[in-house]
Symmetry: C2
Subunit: 341 residues, 2 copies
Amino acid sequence: MPTNHQGAQSLRFKGPITITETAAIAGPKEGQGPLKSDFDRIHDDILAGADSWEKAESEYLKEAIGLVLTKTKKQADEIDFIFAGDLLNQCTGSSYGAISFNRPFFGIFGACSTFGEGLGLGSALIDGGFATSVIAAASSHFCSAEKQFRFPLELGTQRPPTASWTVTGCGAALLSEGGNGPYVTGMTVGKMVDLGIKDAGNMGAAMAPSAADSLMNHFNDFGRAPEYYDLIITGDLGFVGMSLLKDLLKREGVTLGNNYNDCGAMIFSPKTQDTHAGGSGCGCSAITFSGHIMKRLRAGEIKKVLLCPTGALFSPTSSQQGQSIPGICHCVAVETEREGN
Amino acid sequence: MPTNHQGAQSLRFKGPITITETAAIAGPKEGQGPLKSDFDRIHDDILAGADSWEKAESEYLKEAIGLVLTKTKKQADEIDFIFAGDLLNQCTGSSYGAISFNRPFFGIFGACSTFGEGLGLGSALIDGGFATSVIAAASSHFCSAEKQFRFPLELGTQRPPTASWTVTGCGAALLSEGGNGPYVTGMTVGKMVDLGIKDAGNMGAAMAPSAADSLMNHFNDFGRAPEYYDLIITGDLGFVGMSLLKDLLKREGVTLGNNYNDCGAMIFSPKTQDTHAGGSGCGCSAITFSGHIMKRLRAGEIKKVLLCPTGALFSPTSSQQGQSIPGICHCVAVETEREGN
């Protein structure tokens, strides 16, 4: 086996690969939620000054990458590569958002797992000696997503209790060779899992099986138990998917305890912001990680995090044609200390 | 600078990374064109037995990956990772096409540059010691693309002379650590370039500036002139874009000679198959490379190829909202001998 391939489907980064800085740009509703004090910027205007929801999403992405550069006092041309993706058709949130930085660009699509895919591939390029500085970013926008995946917003269609609320926001992270952490130490690359869910109003159920699969593989590949981590956090399973994930893992003899949470369950308040099953979208795990989790890692409150963004790889067309919804989940290990150091 | 970062925006693979095998699955029109004898399988039925164009596209992808496995006598679980992408909304051609192989999956989106992105990222994972076997695949389908990007096929809308014809087909390549070549030796990662073209019926003009940018950077990064290669082949600029690319490079003092061609210009016969500007789509460079070019490399007719798939990172929505069309081009060097060996 090659040196840095770990177990069945994981990458081990010899590193050190540091998450030097992150930026979390949030929309108005996210900015009234429980994590509001952790975001770098909160837009009162969901359009962020743009004249369409799609252009607004690009604006959020542009701001997030721009803020990472500002915080690190870097010029764009010091960044070797940008990885970015989103939910819009042909990933235009990312292309129009990132073009002004004029950097070599890898477009990625993992639906709401995109931020994990970008962190992992970016880390692999650095670890392989191909880059010193890589930015990974992912965005989503409630209005552009609802319009595209479900119903015209103007209809005011009632949402089922299993539905989640697409997060408006963008998270971006600068990955660097060397540095003092937090470090990206490994990634378990997800397989697509499809247990036959066809309800586009129940993403949690569609994605939970892939999260269970990736987590089991992660624990096996690295010889770890859930207790290894201070926090295991899925992307956007929401309350419905979280409960299903726990059940699925229990059948495999693995119990997720109090160190388990979900970005979709954390980002909105079930009491004061009724979003039904919770938050979702590429931006959900991206801003929860880039804002909230990075702050806790930096403060030393938590030291070992397994970030597991989850995605549903379907489209409105595939749903209309009767196809079920495959899920995917990439697990990215972020730790303030490196094993053996 | 890190070891394997070459020049401004390129990856150098110490390798050896071999393209062990490829498969090219073509649609009916492609199967009547000049490259017909180079494809592994030609479908008489553009639906490939499926009941929708989108499902047919997934079927082409499934067949291409399956055939690579059959040819190499490999089981799916011997493949470490699959990289795949396509033009469909949310890249469903790839997800539904690749799911049955049950492998760790990276979804990528580079529009028609996707095959180059997959070859490059797959090679980087192998070169970084993260994998021994990676499959890269990209597909497109004339009917699913026309329906999504332009007009309902049933309308029989007249196409402008600058329009290209989306290729129906899928190409897949198995990249392996070691082996006897042809080798992937380097990649120049493209930047997005947008010179203001807004006409979705003129992709060649939208993408030519990015091809010029990536080629100039490739020559600079590796210290090579166009003559270094036996064949420099862009993805799907077509006749309009080829001519623009030559002009743009001439302004920089670089002349592309008889060793330059374009997959979109080669795949259909201008005399007997009027496709106006030529072929396009992710499948265009994917099946031209996986079928035609690999055969010529294997036969020793050509030894050094620079494959430069080109993509237009727009969507129907971005066009409707008045945005211009950014292009991107990734250059992948494939050589039967490795420098210094």
